[in-house]
Symmetry: C2
Subunit: 210 residues, 2 copies
């Protein structure tokens, strides 16, 4: 089964040529482009693609903001972020926010091809840039990476929304006990004592936006 891939970048020349390249990938059938986050989100709402490739540096919604909306709309869409700069902080924020791959703009087109493949099959595509950022930040925090799972991120978000464990359990159709466990794991992973710490971390990491 071939994948449908949407691309967004404010430089039309770039996004169009990239789209042509992507269209030649053997595992891709359907390619669409947009030159803003808003416009791409519109496309996604019409027909959901399998993978979205977003430029980080865009006027209006940037890549991460756009990713955020797409995730909320449909969390099965895989998200690849492109950026000019391999800024460590940005990479960590992106990963914590649930991005599935991070590529520099000066990479070879082949890497995008493998990234699209891997991202669709697995959940995250790691490359030199991301692994280096993770390793570096693992000790040198702030901007530390805490390896929060998808479920944990979901629970954390709802904790930030001031819900109790019981309410979260109700919302996610899970046992209250399960949520308590997720919470406990978050406390440990993020090295905080209580809700105050969780909320601060969530905001720091860009998981929760104030």
């Amino acid at each position: 089964m071939k994948l449908s891939v949407y691309l967004a970048d404010d430089h039309t020349i770039f996004v169009k040529t990239l789209a042509n390249a992507v269209a030649t990938f053997p595992n891709v059938s359907n390619v669409k482009t947009a030159n803003s986050g808003r416009q791409l989100f519109k496309l996604v709402k019409e027909t959901s693609p399998d993978v979205v490739v977003l430029d980080y540096e865009m006027p209006g919604w940037n890549g991460l903001q756009t990713a955020d909306r797409i995730m909320q709309y449909n969390d099965r869409i895989k998200l690849i972020l492109l950026s000019m700069h391999g800024n460590e902080e940005l990479i960590i924020t992106a990963i914590n926010q649930g991005i599935h791959a991070f590529l520099l703009k000066n990479t070879e087109p082949e890497e995008l091809q493998t990234a699209i493949d891997k991202v669709y099959l697995n959940d995250f595509y790691h490359n030199k840039v991301t692994t280096r950022a993770l390793k570096k930040s693992a000790k040198e925090g702030p901007g530390k990476y805490y390896n929060i799972s998808k479920r944990e991120r979901e629970v954390l978000l709802l904790i930030c929304e001031e819900l109790t464990m019981r309410e979260i359990a109700g919302k996610l159709f899970l046992s209250e006990k399960t949520i308590q466990n997720h919470r406990q794991n978050l406390l440990k992973k993020m090295e905080v004592r209580n809700t105050a710490g969780l909320v601060k971390r969530a905001i720091e990491l860009g998981i929760y936006i104030l």
Copy 2:
């Protein structure tokens, strides 16, 4: 008894002339100037003044950041913030952070004189700018003003630091019950349900800096 007043502004010409004017005020005896927040904080640590006048727009530490340090160092010093723009959000943030007066740079020197007086006698000096900002934001939030008292602000800050009620009580030499009441009042005033909400409000209001 005459007051000692310290001034900080990065424009040396401005701060010097202002200092000369302030020195002529009948209730002021001692005036010192600095052209950065850091430098002023140094002066304060040498000898604490009664009142500090800070420009908001400064390179390095801005006026609010400087105010924050001064408050932590000695909370009996009164703080007056000067700004070019009467930005409502800034005013609310400043008040929530515990600033004692907010003046626009285009006010008459006489208003600074009364502000210094009032601020020293009472706790807060209100003028057209601040009252208008408060009234406007009271309903139109975000940036809402919740009328948090000094103690409450202190407790809120420690809640954000992940301390429990018992620990806060110990730190402030108060009963745990008192802190619990302050917390309860904060929950009501800020219209939130729990710690998560308190932390978010504190960050929004600039009371706690992430």
